[in-house]
């Protein structure tokens, strides 16, 4: 009977094949007394130099820039003066070369673990460096990848960047590790090469070599199945483009998967149901004067033509704070994020909005796309009502607004009485809810989309939509996080809009959960005390 092992999905996708385990690195031998300290320091330095050269060589032959960057950083770590100085001191204090290296790195490792979070995940990099230097000191090889003669699923305690960078997707179908985390270098590199990966999978090391396993890197599950060694005759099924572009949960509940774009070119090859956010700023940038009606009609028509019969939501000009435009910069604002931006520009230049709406309506009339229009940075019901009236007068029947300001989220039920749909912009909604500048790296923790207060506001909007049967979508980049997408679906969000490359992973995540599971995930995230707890409560699903 197949067993189910659970871990953390670190890189989306699924694969089936025989499992083979990476051997453990050489262990530290029993310590011996040091008789010639100078020779022993030389032995340690020679081993460190060899490891630097080895990692440097791997960096040089790696085509993948993410992997090369991680390997170069590892080589710099191995070449570090602090390591050499520490090792020399430890040898002179009586430690043999391999023990001296292990002792010095153990001190630094403890400091990283104490720092916690992402830095603690880097302790694995120091462990790998230690293993490599110890192996060189002992004159033993580092374990090589298994070579069963057919594509296989690699099982390991953890995978060093130096190994992960060289994984050949033609030979390795998937990776399962018993240690590791979502942010370990193994996970980053696996995602970069689209290799399905499950980390922190207890019991992975118990899988006997040759056992056929199915790895689900989206759900973080490993099914340990038959031991029939027939993989060579069973080529892995070629990945197929899903014929049905509609996003669905495992039990068929529809959640629309849409694209965020700035121009028609971004739709090339996108497997989406439509466009959930067509940013029109691109058209207005680099213009001394606003673009003419004819110029605008051409640009909108190009996008509509790429989506025949499908939904396209056009967002009217979102200028301001972070996106200044030459023809609007006729005043100084002490605090532009809280000033004249988004729909508020119409307070000063109603002509720009009227021209744009007329151009969208003209392009829509000449197309089969189901065109909708929405306004950015709406704050009150009366702003929403005025915008709706303006669009309907121009002949655009479907009108919505973005929810980016807490005031609008709190009154979403009332706003839904005057518009057809809502679209939550999570980036700005975070910025304004947490009073934290979205460009501030220092306040990144406040801008985490898993903040329970942000989830509460999204839940409020989704509930308001459900009460009157109107769509409520999310179009911030947070929708591109597969685990977060599951939570959004569970909160009752009806569409997720993201950059097109993110769609397949979100589609897979939704398909792996029933609506009931999504709802349970949403409840757990809402009940969590902080973003880390929310994330943990959901990924453990």
């Amino acid at each position: 009977m197949p067993d189910l092992l659970r871990g953390l999905g670190a890189s989306a996708g699924a694969a089936t094949g025989p499992a083979y385990r990476l051997a453990d690195p050489p262990r530290l031998p029993a310590p011996r007394p040091v008789t010639d300290p100078d020779a022993e320091v030389d032995r340690a330095y020679a081993a460190i130099d060899a490891v630097c050269r080895d990692i440097g060589r791997r960096a040089a032959v790696t085509a993948d820039e993410t992997a090369a960057e991680i390997l170069r950083a590892q080589a710099a770590l191995a070449a570090d003066r602090t390591l050499r100085d520490g090792v020399a001191l430890a040898v002179r204090a009586g430690h043999e070369a391999p023990h001296a290296v292990a002792a010095v790195l153990a001190d630094h490792r403890a400091a990283l673990l104490a720092a916690g979070g992402l830095l603690a995940a880097r302790a694995a990099d120091l462990d790998d460096l230690r293993d490599r230097v110890v192996a060189h000191c002992l004159g033993l090889p580092m374990p090589a990848l298994p070579e069963p003669g057919c594509p296989f699923v690699l099982i390991a305690v953890d995978l060093a960047p130096a190994d992960a960078a060289l994984l050949d997707p033609a030979r390795v179908l998937a990776v399962v590790t018993s240690a590791g985390s979502f942010v370990s270098h193994t996970a980053i590199l696996a995602r970069a090469r689209g290799l399905p990966t499950v980390v922190a999978c207890g019991g992975a090391l118990e899988i006997a070599d040759g056992t056929v396993v199915t790895v689900d890197g989206t759900a973080g599950r490993v099914t340990v199945g038959r031991t029939v060694p027939a993989p060579a005759e069973e080529p892995p099924p070629a990945p197929e483009e899903p014929a049905d572009l509609r996003g669905r949960t495992a039990d068929g509940h529809h959640v629309a998967l849409l694209a965020n774009i700035g121009c028609a070119a971004e739709l090339a090859g996108a497997a989406v149901e439509g466009v959930g956010l067509f940013r029109t700023e691109l058209l207005f940038q680099h213009h001394i004067d606003p673009p003419t009606t004819a110029e605008q009609i051409d640009a909108y028509a190009e996008v509509f033509a790429a989506m025949p019969g499908r939904q396209v939501i056009v967002r009217t000009l979102d200028a301001g704070a972070d996106k200044p435009l030459p023809f609007l910069r006729d005043h100084d604002e002490p605090n532009p994020a809280l000033g004249i931006r988004g729909l508020r520009v119409a307070r000063r230049r109603a002509d720009i909005l009227r021209t744009q709406i007329a151009a969208i309506a003209a392009a829509a009339r000449a197309s089969t796309a189901r065109v909708a229009v929405m306004a950015p940075m709406v704050t009150t019901v009366s702003e929403a009502a005025q915008f709706t009236a303006l669009c309907r007068d121009a002949g655009l029947p479907t009108v919505g607004v973005m929810i980016e300001v807490p005031a609008a989220a709190v009154r979403s039920a009332e706003i839904l009485q005057v518009v057809d749909f809502l679209s939550v912009g999570t980036n700005d909604l975070s910025q304004y809810t947490f009073a934290a500048d979205r460009r501030s790296g220092e306040l990144a923790d406040l801008l985490d989309p898993w903040q329970p207060a942000l989830l509460s506001l999204i839940a409020l909007c989704a509930a308001a939509g459900a009460a009157v049967g109107r769509p409520v979508g999310v179009c911030g980049e947070a929708a591109a996080d597969p685990a977060f997408a599951v939570v959004l679906a569970g909160l009752g969000v009806t569409s997720l809009s993201m950059s097109p490359p993110a769609v397949p992973a979100v589609r897979a995540a939704l398909a792996a959960h029933t609506l009931e599971e999504c709802r349970a995930a949403a409840q757990r995230a809402l009940a969590a005390a902080d973003p880390a707890a929310a994330r943990a409560a959901v990924t453990r699903l």
């Binding site: 710099a76 770590l77 630094h108 990283l112 979070g117 830095l119 790296g441 220092e442």
Partner: protein, 90 residues
């Protein structure tokens, strides 16, 4: 000469960021040391030492350099610590 800066990298001072800073420190016109409120000063040109500061986003870092070129070296490094090196294009 002493300079204080808050670490901007949202992921903390991790391996890639530390190696970028160590390279810049090695090229700087004066030797720079870095310490935090609770860890002693280390050489800024050592990746391992920088990592072991365990600096997270928002940690206050105290940079110190002396002699000719000290101001320029501090400007360069303080600038890097105050930039989120994980942001593409940064």
């Amino acid at each position: 000469m002493i300079r204080s800066v808050l670490l901007a990298g949202r992921a903390g001072l991790h391996l890639r960021a530390a190696s970028q800073i160590a390279v810049a420190a090695a090229l700087a016109p004066a030797a720079v040391t870095v310490r935090t409120m609770d860890r002693p000063a280390v050489a800024a040109d050592s990746v391992l030492a920088l990592l072991s500061l365990g600096a997270l986003c928002g940690t206050e870092l105290i940079l110190e350099a002396h002699g000719p070129g000290a101001a320029e070296a501090l400007d360069t490094l303080a600038g890097l610590f105050a930039t989120d090196l994980d942001v593409a294009g940064a």
